[in-house]
């Protein structure tokens, strides 16, 4: 048995952080539109924005989990 072992550190590239920043920005943008569309009494627009928010949020979550397990 060898006394040596290797620890592999995987560094995320710079653009990955940028993509997460864009994801976060989009979430904020869509959430704002979803909340205020409700206030504007635009029910259908509010619903579309909330669905978009949920889809984007879950997609980000899934990507984060998958990448963590890689």
């Amino acid at each position: 048995m060898s006394d040596n072992y290797t620890v592999k550190l995987k560094r995320r590239p710079w653009y990955a952080w940028l993509l997460w920043a864009v994801w976060l920005f989009l979430l904020i943008f869509i959430a704002q539109n979803a909340i205020t569309s409700g206030q504007e009494l635009e029910g259908r627009a509010a619903m579309i924005f909330w669905i978009s928010f949920a889809v984007l949020f879950i997609a980000g979550l899934v990507v984060a989990i998958v990448r963590r397990n890689e």
Partner: protein, 465 residues
């Protein structure tokens, strides 16, 4: 040896920081104009003349986005233009007008008895509550003049004059205010004959006056004050019903109050202010709105403003107080109208133009030639009002892509996009439909809404601070 406690920034941390900073900057870019647009004025005018600090996508231009042939244009006889009123007889004939009247009366009775949504007794009661106020050419003439007070009349720079008029008129209830100076060209926008048949005559005399046949405008009264009064989008989306039409009536009533108050305000300063002697008198309101930069002419053949879309009524006054003037604007509205056509598709009487490009050819005597526009069929429009709607319509205003409140950030983005990237206009129009904007609501639900004063979004001013 490295100094203890000194923070070392790794490349990784640096990139993280850069990412967060980028997100912050991007968010701030979006948030800033949105917050600025939705806050009510807390500060002072930044412009000496009190001009609104408009969004970056509203460009001030020398010529309006509506092409005008000033040589072809003549001063208009507004008796021909009252097609949505007494002038209809000229175009439709007495028999048709009588038929419309009878039908309207019959429909009204049947609808009230059947409790039809938007035509119930409470809706008609709301309608009859607009008693109206007296408009007059010379104004109430009751305010104390500087002479009455034994003081010299107010004096100040044109910028200062524009600023205090703006401040006063905003106080009286105007949404936006713009100014132009009449010259040989724009003088053609003052009617030749008012709706009541009185001639409008320019004179070298110093004081304005009125006789049985004419209204005299001193040549010194060459400054036009054009102003808008907001309507309620939430009420308008109940069109065409009696309920929905009430925001139009209310805007006209408010316009009357603003006119009388401004006339008295200027009298108090020692100047003259000449107003509309009746609804839509004195001059062509949309034309003055366009020339003063309040908005652009649209497929509706009405003004669409960058701030409130078409949800405004436009009025005008004349004064001899020299004011700093304004220029037309280009916010991409006319360009957008070329591709959108949502109003024309929604018009139940098919009165609006479906043409791709505006035209010089008018549709009838109710249009004034000399400008390239989307002229409407006012006779079929008014016939629909009388024979079917039972009230004025307004669907074209309600469905317009620019008829939006200002809370959701997306609206500001879309307006900016429409102004700068016309290639996206079709996409914006499709999305407008998909998101359900402009859909009608029941009138009964209107009576349960907790709306702000006048039903307008009072937190939707033009940013001026």
């Amino acid at each position: 040896m490295e100094k203890e406690g000194r923070m070392k920034l790794s490349r990784r941390d640096f990139l993280r920081l850069a990412g967060v900073s980028a997100a912050g900057a991007a968010t701030a870019t979006v948030v800033r104009p949105t917050l600025a647009a939705s806050k009510f004025h807390g500060g002072e005018f930044t412009d000496a003349a009190g001009r609104p600090n408009r969004p970056w996508w509203v460009r001030v231009v020398d010529e309006p986005t509506t092409e005008i042939d000033w040589d072809r244009m003549v001063r208009y006889d507004e008796r021909n233009g009252t097609v949505r009123g007494p002038g209809i007889t000229k175009y439709a004939g007495e028999e048709a007008v009588a038929r419309m009247g009878e039908l309207n009366k019959k429909n009204e009775l049947e609808r009230i008895l059947a409790n039809v949504d938007g035509y119930t007794l409470k809706d008609y009661a709301l309608q009859s509550a607009h008693a109206g106020h007296a408009r007059s050419y010379l104004g109430p003439q009751e305010a104390k003049t500087p002479e009455d007070r034994g003081v010299p009349k107010w004096s100040g720079s044109p910028e200062e004059a524009a600023r205090i008029i703006r401040a006063a008129m905003r106080h009286f209830g105007a949404a936006t205010v713009g100014f132009i100076e009449l010259d040989e060209r724009t003088r053609k926008l003052i009617y030749d004959v008012d709706p009541d048949g009185k001639k409008l005559i320019f004179t070298d005399e110093k004081e304005a006056y009125e006789t049985e046949d004419a209204r005299y405008i001193p040549n010194d009264c060459k400054y036009v004050i054009a102003y808008t009064v907001q309507m309620s989008q939430e009420t308008m989306r109940r069109c065409p019903t009696v309920t929905g039409s009430q925001t139009t009536s209310l805007a006209y009533s408010r316009g009357e109050i603003i006119q009388a108050s401004t006339q008295e305000f200027l009298r108090g300063l020692g100047y003259q202010c000449l107003g509309e002697s009746s609804t839509n008198a004195l001059g062509i309101a949309p034309a003055f709105g366009v020339m003063a930069g309040l908005g652009e002419l649209s497929r509706l053949n009405r003004v669409i403003t960058p701030e409130f879309g078409p949800m405004v009524r436009v009025f005008k006054l004349l004064t001899d107080l020299p004011v700093a003037t304004d220029k037309p604007i280009d916010a991409g509205i006319m360009e957008f109208c070329k591709r959108c056509k949502k109003c024309a598709e929604a018009c139940p009487s098919e009165s609006l133009s479906f043409e791709d490009e505006p035209t010089w050819e008018t549709r009838g005597g109710w249009n004034n030639p000399g400008h390239k526009a989307y002229f409407e069929d006012a006779v079929s429009c008014y016939t629909y009002w009388r024979e079917q709607a039972g009230t004025n319509c307004g669907i074209c205003f309600a469905v317009c892509t620019f008829s939006k409140k200002d809370k959701a950030w997306i609206h500001e983005w879309v307006k900016a996009g429409a102004s700068t990237a016309p290639a996206l206009d079709g996409f914006f129009r499709t999305m407008d439909d998909a998101f359900g904007y402009g859909t009608q609501a029941t009138s009964e639900s209107w009576w349960s809404l907790d709306l702000p004063e006048y039903g307008i979004d009072s937190c939707q001013p033009v940013e001026e601070a």
